[in-house]
Amino acid sequence: MHPIHLLRIVSSVRRLLQTNRCRSFSSCQHNMASIKHKNARRIEGLDKNVWVAFTSVAADPSIVNLGQGYPDIPPPSYVKEGLAQAAMVDRLNQYTRGFGHPTLVKALSKVYGKVYDRQLDPFKEILVTVGGYGSLFSTMQALVEEGDEVIIIEPFFDCYVPMVKMAGAKPVLIPLRLKSTATTGISSADWVLDQEELASKFNSKTKAIIINTPNNPIGKIFSRSELQAIADLCIKHDTLCFSDEVYEWLIYKGHEHVKIATLPGMWDRTITVGSAGKTFSVTGWKLGWSIGPEHLIRHLQTVMQNSLYTCPTPLQEAVGRGLLRDFELMGQPDCYFSALALELEGKRDRMAAMLAQTGMTPVVPEGGYFMIVDVTALNQDLTHMGDDEPYDYKFVKWMIKEKKLAAIPVTAFVGEDSVKQFEKYIRLCFIKQESTLDAAEAILKNWNKG
């Protein structure tokens, strides 16, 4: 008998002896129903979600929605056309290779082979998943379990903590801290990790650290030396690194995106996550990928083959073709990867200016399409809204109601211990068309007129 079965028999017998199961069916029918239809322990407490609370707002057309992170600008036309063409081919409407459609994984290996400056095996070192989200899930399920600790840097994309918990492990949080005392001209580069604090979070149970660069929500791009410090700790403590780089192409002038997997000693212990949705402004296509060494990727592939098996074919074909087209243009202004960043830089600067003129203090991001802003200077009194929620949650709800402008509270991205540090910040998304930004600007200009 497989040892796993033996273990399960032992543990279930142990549980049986411990629990007070009712043998008489009829009298316990109601209780049995509530026991049996209860959820599995792995999802206990993971049902709440900030998006569920705030995305219904998006349906109201009178609200200017700078909340959830998706573009309201169209994707490039060649990407949409690629999909229309793919859907016309019979074969491309049926199952493709489970770990990634050949056209797509080969295109990824070409593009990232150049970026990493290394040969990437399209079949063994790349896995295509349902969005960057699906890559994170496959990574956690494959490599993280009960007894493990996973270090997460605050503020973090909110799914990291529940995914770590669902895998049975313990999240260990460490906040980025604002090192500047200025009240204007703050950038995401002013938010840094305390090196001693970071080192103190690593121990023998640490299985992995999750980094997100460019970071959502702050927009910080971790510099080479910051990544080296993290890499040194990973190597010293023999931990893995999960690097969420979905915004990798949205890098603004004067900054460089560095892949931690390219630092010495890191390729063998790093999974890097990317996203077609963020790359081509098609979040609704839900395609992403994990890149890493075979000895790690094969475990993600095992999760994939036992969870959803394969991703949609025509979408993968279209993304593959889009990548190949832009691969040829890499380094040139026509390349969508850099053209989009250029377009967004203007929007970033516009948004920072409109926020600043109300008296708020924006944190200008080095990358990504979010900006957080400190609302302290507005001195908005929200005591009438009670005190069972952090300030930013109340502020956003008040702002939606009174100003018809939606954002996301930043404490949704931090643990309880860091709420006080972040509760004066809200997050805005600026990958929006000019008319949306015009509407936001109108609201902000009139802010102080009540």
């Binding site: 040892p3 079965h5 049902d47 994707p75 949409k80 969005g131 083959q305 959803l308």
Partner: protein, 446 residues
Amino acid sequence: MWRRVAVYGPSLSVRLAIAGFHEKGIMSRRLHARRLEGIDKNIWVEFTQLAADYKAVNLGQGFPDFSPPSFIQEAFCNALTGGFRMHQYTRAFGHPNLVKILAKFFSRIVGREIDPMEDILVSVGAYQALFCTFQALVDEGDEVIIVEPFFDCYQPMVMMAGGMPVYVPLKPREGRGPALTSADWVLSPEELASKFTSRTKAIVINTPNNPLGKVYQWEELQVIADLCIKHDVICISDEVYEWLTYDGAKHVKIASLPGMWERTVTIGSAGKTFSATGWKVGWAIGSGHIMKHLKTVHQNSVYHCATAAQEAISVGFQREYDVFGTEDSYFHQLPITLHEKRKRLADCLKSVGLKPILPQGGYFMIADISNINVDLNDPTTKEEPYDYRFVKWLIKEKGLATIPVSAFYSPEHRDQFQKYIRFCFVKEDSTLQAAENILKQWSENK
């Protein structure tokens, strides 16, 4: 490391230590999570590669090699040009247009008001709906009854959720002569009843069944329902082939039986419904108090499904709702087309000495190969079950791809079912012709 030795015993720890040393010198402890133990092998990965390598006529994996109906392709193209929202995130638990039409459509069939927002979860194919169901409801130590032969993913999914699979076989009905159709394969009610214990969390049924093609009748489902109610067990009903029934067999939804709605998760597939398996859109339908747990798994695993495909499927379902029961309905036409292909393949298999079991429903037909004597002289497959070896020989020597049926049996019972192979007949006539030519030629040369 030593804590794990104490818990799991020496043999497992030796394996762990060896695994540690093999991994590139990093992480002296094991890299992968325990939940992956024993579930890394996969028949599709192996056999689809083989079929491709040998450019075999592919009656193996279950997908059509003809196009989806034109109305669904048009719907997809319209969705793509339908404004920016079609390319951005939609509602996580299911695109509103899709869940609304699914609720409307299936309410009519199940005979109760299905709430589109509470009772339905859209997933990345029926496969992911199954995954969400097991992850949401199965805990370590729970038993899950699986009816054999079963679609192969049920077993590893139960294991990954920490559950213990308990198997009960469909068997040829005794004393009625040769079992020539899938209707002749039945469960023994006594044997089935004996599998239910106080640890049983769920039972998985698949109707129409893959690979056998059995369509469970009302009375058979009633036996299962009675046991579910008696033991307060959840029923997971995989009904992806629900529209494909032949010879007047009627598909019955176990969720429509008394007492079953509140304890059943019914799984469906747009890929199988509209012959577009590559779109990977599926759903789970059930009472909200169970569905909310599947939603929790979904929001912590993939969160959203692709928008445009969901929009296209909603248009397809609206069209089918309007023409339901008429000759125009794709759900009416497809089974008629497949009925012919099924008969054609069965006749061909019989003519060359294979013994097909005529399926009442679904995409597949299994055939008994015990009468065939071939010299399977391939040293690379020596340790494998007979049907695996036979299928590989058939791919390599004859250029015809099928799937070995023992892959759909539990490790415990695999040995007893090594003489069947599975054919998919949802193929163009030219593909079936090519397969026929291969089989006839082989038969003539024997």
